[in-house]
């Protein structure tokens, strides 16, 4: 239960971190908050040869509102997002989901970039990024590129980031007026890894017709997944209980979760369907003008 030996680098700028990662080739691993990587190192499930600790790279810790988005630096602590009034007001989905990330001491250290780069299939932040059609930016000595949420997540703990790339920031787009969102997850114990969770968004036009909907499900597949069949049930329609029920059914039908000790495949599907329905109902209510709720 102790980490294997590794070389330790603690750069103070993003440029320096990228330079070091580049020189390490595929032997380097970025250490951000350490709330997922260090447990894996303690259990020797991960034995990186070299760690590039970015905790001193203060330039990567910020929350900016720009171009109708929240752009959040990779080193921003989850706790900082939780405490941000701007996020609470302008990105309620992110604000709601962040409360389900671990416990307070975990969120005090855990980072936004770390959660996205770690890509645990039951993690909350990748689902939020996916539901909002967000992206991350990755920098290496070869250059900087943007990676859409859907292209980032490849499998359990697997992303499309290269070993020499540093995830520097993530962009969580804001939704237009007339939108409502909800985040729900099911856990056995408070703050634990979710069995299944759902991030849902609904946007209505002035006539009450749904113009955009997104459903991102966590814990029910190799990665967080969108449920396009469920979204198709909603878009261009006037929402009501039966439309939303159909969407829940459609979400369930499109899933192929892995059964394990904590929940069988069938059970996870059922929970995903039920949570989708509940989350959409809440999102829909929140999207309605106050007078119509």
């Amino acid at each position: 239960m102790k980490p294997a030996a590794f070389a330790y680098f603690d750069p103070t700028t993003a440029d320096e971190a990228v330079e070091t990662l580049g020189e390490l080739g595929d032997t380097g691993k970025v250490l951000a908050g350490g709330q997922s990587l260090v447990p894996m190192m303690n259990m020797r499930l991960a034995k990186p040869e070299a760690l590039v600790d970015i905790n001193k790279v203060k330039e990567l810790a910020y929350i900016h509102e720009e171009d109708n988005s929240f752009v959040i630096g990779a080193l921003t602590r989850q706790r900082a997002v939780e405490r941000s009034r701007a996020v609470k007001r302008r990105s309620p989905l992110l604000a709601e989901a962040i409360l389900s990330v671990g416990h307070l001491p975990i969120r005090s250290r855990g980072t936004v970039g770390g959660s996205l780069a770690h890509a645990d299939p039951a993690a909350e932040l990748p689902a939020v990024l996916l539901a909002l059609d967000g992206w991350v930016e990755a920098t290496s000595k070869r250059g900087t590129r943007r990676v859409a949420a859907a292209d980032l997540l490849l499998g359990p703990l697997l992303t499309s980031l290269e070993p020499d790339e540093l995830l520097t920031r993530a962009c969580f787009p804001l939704l237009p007026a007339g939108s409502g969102t909800a985040f729900l997850e099911m856990t056995r114990r408070h703050g634990d890894f979710a069995l299944v969770g759902v991030a849902a968004t609904v946007t209505l036009d002035a006539q009450g017709i749904c113009t955009r909907a997104s459903v991102a499900i966590l814990g029910a597949g190799e990665t967080q997944v969108r449920a396009p069949q469920a979204e198709a049930c909603l878009v261009s329609n006037r929402l009501d209980d039966s439309v939303i029920e159909d969407a829940g059914q459609a979400a369930m039908a499109g899933l192929d979760p892995i059964g394990d000790l904590h929940g069988s495949q069938e059970y996870r599907k059922q929970v995903a369907g039920a949570l989708t329905q509940r989350a959409l109902k809440i999102a829909w209510q929140r999207a309605l003008p106050r007078s119509e709720r």
Binding site: M1, K2, P3, A4, A5, F6, A7, Y8, F9, D10, T20, E23, L24, T27, G34, Q35, V38, P39, M41, N42, M43, E49, A50, L51, D53, N55, R79, G102, H103, L104, P105, I106, S108, R109, H190, G191
Partner: protein
């Protein structure tokens, strides 16, 4: 371009940090966890090590005022940091901190293994609520990151409530 020296970067180094207001210096390889550094290098064995992967909360300490798991931080990361451990709670004369007294009074512990973590989590929680007015829900969420296998938590929740009251006076 300078060749990167991974050998040098793996060597032990001297680490200085302030723990409970006192400066300490020790040696550690990069892989040494802060929890082990506190216990084995600085002989501050009040910080307990339970699961060693961030689940149980026994090793909770304050790092620059923020509650963290010391088993998920490397000692090298705590260079020049301000750490508060359970040893920093009681007064110089040995009299208990109001939080410790409250746990004592309310059966907030039985075997005591998880207690240092609970005390530090409570300390951080009450520090975050300067008006010391907490609902039961806030207390329960505040200590949700710590596991206790003996008490069933009722006594702990009661202790946090008493501590908040005592510290208000």
């Amino acid at each position: 371009m300078t060749e990167i020296n991974t050998k040098a970067a793996a060597r032990p180094r001297t680490i200085t940090m302030t723990v409970n207001g006192r400066r300490y210096t020790g040696r550690a390889e990069p892989r040494m966890l802060l929890s082990d550094f506190l216990r084995h290098e600085l002989n501050l064995t009040g910080t307990h090590v339970g699961c060693e992967h961030g689940v149980c909360g026994c090793c909770t300490v304050l790092y620059n005022g923020v509650p963290i798991r010391s088993c998920l931080m490397l000692a090298v990361q705590a260079r020049n940091a301000r750490i508060v451990t359970v040893e920093g709670l009681a007064n110089e004369d040995g009299s208990l901190h109001p939080i410790q007294q409250a746990f004592y009074d309310n059966h907030g512990l039985q075997c005591g293994f998880c207690t240092p973590g609970f005390l530090m989590a409570t300390y951080a929680l009450l520090k975050e609520h300067p008006n010391l007015h907490l609902t039961e829900e806030e207390i329960r969420v505040g200590i949700a990151g710590n596991l206790c296998r003996c008490t069933g938590y009722q006594g702990i929740v009661e202790a946090v409530r008493q501590a908040a009251k005592a510290m208000k006076k």
